[in-house]
């Protein structure tokens, strides 16, 4: 056997810190990119999800299946119903001749909307008496119910005005002395995808980074490698940075990819400075990675880490204003939504992309993100140091 003649003098100070951090980061990246499933999970899955969810998450209401019940069976009633289903809003699924049938179809959930023209409709119109139509709506999907109901009302109002005008009276004279003209800013066609894509991007970032960091640390624990790392001269702070920086990098790349897909596929506008989005993204990631490592430090197994991460992810998404406005939530939930990093980040994304807002307009959100990031990041570093160092 060879005699061991080498002298070993370890590097110390800043040089050692850089060396250790480099070692950790290279190791994380090597492990991540060696595992094809991990690349899929980190890079490709978010893109596919954005594509699928971007198409699926859509609150625009059109082509509502509509059953027509014509009890009057006159030229007037037919004209009214034909006009209703002429546009994109309603799709005629059938015509019946009794309100009873329409009611039972809606009650049974076979059709979400039925419009009933009662007997005497044409006669009332001819005699210039007020007349009525009935709208039966399945309120199970409350958003669609409201939108459909409003669309029927709007159509009916327009038709009434046309009838009045045909009789030589000034249109709207009797019915609507004040007309509302609405102008929608930033998203004039009220395309809900443009509104949703930034939110989807924020939540994807949340899922990917939180789960990966939490499970990464738990895996080191489970497989015993953490034990081996902890008997080296590695400090807690170095370990913390080594476990977060690679995923911060991956997270920012994901953010770029998601923005790219959003613009190309969903025509999400990029009206404001992209630097603000990435800056906010960095702050947002600090919070997510900090929470991820906290979970990883507290969990004993990867399974525990995964469950804990999802336990946080669900409310974080639902209370972020991603789908339902935070303003509509009960007031006692307000403080909870303020602790949620997803909320300010979604606001920054929408602000910059849709409104062209800059850092100054979004200062409150950026300050919130920075505050959360610093508190969570340093808190997690301290916990990690105490529990593992």
């Amino acid at each position: 056997m060879l005699p061991d003649a080498t002298e070993t003098r370890p590097i110390e100070g800043v040089g050692a810190f850089v060396l250790r951090l480099r070692g950790l980061i290279l190791k994380e990246l090597r492990q991540t990119f060696r595992d094809k499933r991990m690349i899929g999970l980190l890079m490709i899955a978010p893109m596919i999800q954005l594509l699928v969810l971007g198409h699926a998450v859509n609150l625009d209401v059109d082509h509502v299946p509509t059953l027509l019940a014509d009890e009057d069976r006159t030229a007037e009633s037919r004209a009214y119903l034909d006009g209703l289903t002429a546009g994109d809003a309603f799709r005629r699924v059938g015509v019946v001749d009794s309100a009873q049938v329409a009611l039972s179809e809606v009650s049974a959930g076979r059709v979400p909307l039925a419009v009933v023209v009662p007997r005497g409709f044409a006669a009332d119109l001819g005699a210039q008496r007020p007349t009525r139509v009935q709208v039966l709506v399945d309120g199970g999907d409350s958003n669609r119910a409201i939108v459909a109901q409003n669309a029927v009302a709007t159509y009916t109002l327009r038709r009434s005005q046309a009838l009045i005008a045909a009789r030589g009276l000034p249109a709207g004279a009797a019915l609507a002395p004040v007309r509302i003209e609405t102008r929608v800013f930033y998203n004039p066609s009220m395309n809900s995808r443009i509104y949703f894509v930034p939110g989807v991007a924020a939540t994807l970032l949340l899922v990917v980074t939180l789960v990966v960091t939490a499970m990464g640390l738990a895996r080191e624990k489970e497989s015993g490698t953490l034990e081996q790392i902890l008997v080296t001269p590695l400090g807690g702070a170095t370990l913390f940075l080594g476990k977060t920086l690679p995923y911060a990098l991956i997270g920012l790349i994901d953010l770029g990819l998601v923005l790219g897909v959003g613009t190309w596929v969903f025509s999400v506008p990029l009206r404001g400075p992209l630097g603000v989005v990435f800056f906010a993204g960095g702050l947002y990631l600090m919070t997510l990675l900090g929470v991820g490592l906290l979970i990883g430090a507290l969990a004993r197994t990867q399974q525990q880490a995964l469950v804990a991460a999802f336990f946080l992810i669900m409310p974080a998404i639902l209370l972020s204003g991603f789908a339902t406005p935070v303003e509509n939530m009960p007031t006692w939930l307000e403080p909870v939504t303020r602790l949620n990093p997803v909320r300010p980040f979604v606001e920054v994304m929408r602000g910059v992309l849709l409104r062209g807002a800059g850092a100054r307009d979004l200062a409150p959100q950026l300050v919130t993100l920075a505050g959360m990031g610093l508190v969570v990041f340093s808190g997690a570093a301290a916990v990690l140091r105490r529990r593992l160092g």
Partner: protein, 310 residues
């Protein structure tokens, strides 16, 4: 290295106590290992071997007493302490999805080795562990023996002064086991202090000194040969094809302290004071088995010490 350092123990425990809930895992453990000494901590599963080692390397904080590595207190472990310590846990502790080279590089970085230094150390360690040919193989594709050698190489990268091994030959084939032991002797000859935990008596007998651990307590400590010499009972070997019948018949003879199956018969430990009576009764009871005295070995020592301690 100054004289002060070489004469002070490389590893030291003074009155170590550690509890987990109500269980006392390690109780008042004191030991001291000098540079160039190979010390075996022997005991059955659950005796507290792993806890003792984890206290020594600073992965656990003691409830009482203290552990020191090269003079520095373990649980207050700073970088200086860890730079002089190598530790090989019992379970798998390397990255299975990284190659031998990548694992070594990672630990080299953590230990702060310069690249020249690292290259020299790796060449040397891969040479003595005969892993050079497998540098690119992933750690999870290595055999048990090769894996342990790699773990050993990782623990030795930074030239520690003390090496702590938790059941290093667990899951290792006999050939690799012998190679690992040869490697350990070489390292010890170069002045490394080695503490290893093992449940195997034959391995314990190969150490310079052993400590017998039972229920978290050190019940005996000495050189294996000295412990055997100090053995006060007598050992006999009974050749018996029908071991169960022999065991039943021998069980109640005077002075019999322990019976254990051994090869083609039974090993019987008899208290020295009752040896005369035992032999007489064996002869008079007209037993059909053959009885002969045999030299006590380390396993007998451990068995009887454990029984005495209980």
């Amino acid at each position: 290295m100054s004289d002060v350092l070489t004469s002070s123990p490389a590893l030291e425990a003074r009155g170590l106590v550690r509890r987990f809930g109500r269980t006392v895992a390690v109780s008042d453990l004191s030991l001291s290992i000098a540079p160039g000494e190979l010390y075996g901590l022997v005991g059955p599963d659950g005796a507290g071997k792993t806890t003792a080692l984890r206290l020594l390397v600073g992965l656990l904080t003691p409830d009482g007493g203290e552990a020191r590595v090269a003079g520095a207190v373990s649980h207050a472990a700073g970088g200086a302490l860890r730079a002089s310590l190598g530790y090989m846990p019992q379970q798998y502790s390397l990255y299975g999805d990284l190659s031998i080279d990548e694992n070594l590089r990672f630990f080299g970085d953590l230990f702060g080795l310069s690249s020249t230094n690292f290259r020299e150390r790796v060449a040397h360690l891969l040479g003595i562990t005969q892993l050079t040919r497998f540098r690119d193989r992933r750690a999870d594709a290595l055999s048990g023996g090769m894996y342990k050698k790699l773990a050993l190489a990782c623990a030795l990268l930074h030239r520690p002064r003390a090496l702590v091994l938790d059941e290093p030959t667990n899951g290792v084939d006999p050939v690799s086991r012998r190679e690992l032991w040869e490697l350990l002797y070489t390292l010890v000859d170069e002045g490394l202090a080695v503490l290893l935990a093992t449940p195997y008596m034959d391995e314990a007998a190969r150490c310079h000194r052993v400590g017998l651990l039972q229920g978290g307590r050190l019940i005996a400590e000495d050189a294996p040969a000295a412990l055997v010499r100090a053995f006060e009972d007598l050992a006999y070997f009974v050749t018996a094809a029908d071991r169960d019948a022999a065991e039943a018949a021998l069980h109640d003879l005077p002075g019999v302290r322990a019976l254990s199956p051994h090869g083609p018969g039974l090993r019987v430990i008899v208290a020295a004071a009752d040896a005369e009576a035992f032999r007489r009764r064996f002869a008079s009871a007209d037993m059909r088995w053959h009885l002969e005295p045999t030299a006590p070995d380390f396993e007998d020592v451990f068995l009887m010490r454990s029984i005495d301690a209980e």
